[in-house]
Symmetry: D2
Subunit: 120 residues, 4 copies
Amino acid sequence: MSMSEQSLSNLQAKIRQFCDERNWDQFHNGKDLAISLSLEAAELLEHFQWKDEAEVRKHMQDNKSEVAEELADVFYWVLLIANKFDIDLVDVFDKKMIKNAKKYPVEKSKDSHRKYTELS
Amino acid sequence: MSMSEQSLSNLQAKIRQFCDERNWDQFHNGKDLAISLSLEAAELLEHFQWKDEAEVRKHMQDNKSEVAEELADVFYWVLLIANKFDIDLVDVFDKKMIKNAKKYPVEKSKDSHRKYTELS
Amino acid sequence: MSMSEQSLSNLQAKIRQFCDERNWDQFHNGKDLAISLSLEAAELLEHFQWKDEAEVRKHMQDNKSEVAEELADVFYWVLLIANKFDIDLVDVFDKKMIKNAKKYPVEKSKDSHRKYTELS
Amino acid sequence: MSMSEQSLSNLQAKIRQFCDERNWDQFHNGKDLAISLSLEAAELLEHFQWKDEAEVRKHMQDNKSEVAEELADVFYWVLLIANKFDIDLVDVFDKKMIKNAKKYPVEKSKDSHRKYTELS
């Protein structure tokens, strides 16, 4: 099985083992988990600050692994929070995609970045 | 194949199809994608604001699907950003876990929430 | 005039001079300014991550100047954004306080942390 | 005294009165205050999401008061946090500006958006 074919539950099991070995569950209340996710998202965003699109392209060429690592950090907290609250990520993802398809019908949202509340 | 066994590349293919149908790639520059991720992380965090642990538990009982949906939104942008910059999420996740294990050796980080830079 | 009595326009004039000397206005588009504000808010939040109230108190005793500096960073971007978009901060603050008083009438919001949309 | 000449301590006194009337100090722990600041910064950032510079200009013409209100919300939490932790905002602001001037010497940072750690 190639790495990219690993299931999410497989990845979550790795996180659980990592945290169990360190006895970290005692710190993992929902509020601090959500803070952690938010802080890692901010660290990713910092890579794009002040840069126009050409500079972003250059930055990605030179620092792809750093950006990838920040994204992995965000992903880590997504998986951990899902595990903590017993949320089936793939299930809610699929439901969300169906909801999004209704909120953003192709004929109204094609070539538009307007929010669904502003689609006429 | 159960839903939770879907691979990440499977989920990313769904996002690509959704965005392609709407011709949204034109808007998906790195900066705005990272902003989107950050804003969705904030919406998740809002669920925990002002609540102590008992209130969080109560809130999760009554609003689990809303919280799950916010987490799915964050997950959506993680997948889309990974796809945009050709980042293999599972690969970087696995590398990150190895790195984390070195930064947080069990003997030093057990029962501690200190940052690795503060572990003595 | 004591320092704490300096007007906001006085502080904004200092920022303008600082940025003018460095010719930084060329970079100060609204999106990146709002990103900067968000990132500094995240750096402040990081000081509270994983800490319970007793630990926050201890942390504030030992690191008050670092926390104060992060808050100053947030304040800097608030002032700069207000200046950039010609927003009179004190005026909008006063209007907001009047609005908040209506949204949160004393009799309904006393001893409650519920959002105004949830006040019955 | 024009509104814009009101001192920060004057504004903070208004916040204190507002919160005292509602007995809200019981909820104002540092972590939730910092979360609130972060969430309001995100709401401001949302106004700039997906918009290029021309669209931002148009948006500011049509929605200046909404943006101003979000900025006032951020400012509110800055003032409240400063008050809570007995931080003299003007004092730390002035110190920070001196520090910034050293970190970003004019000759090295003119016309550059590089972080001080990357100035050679």
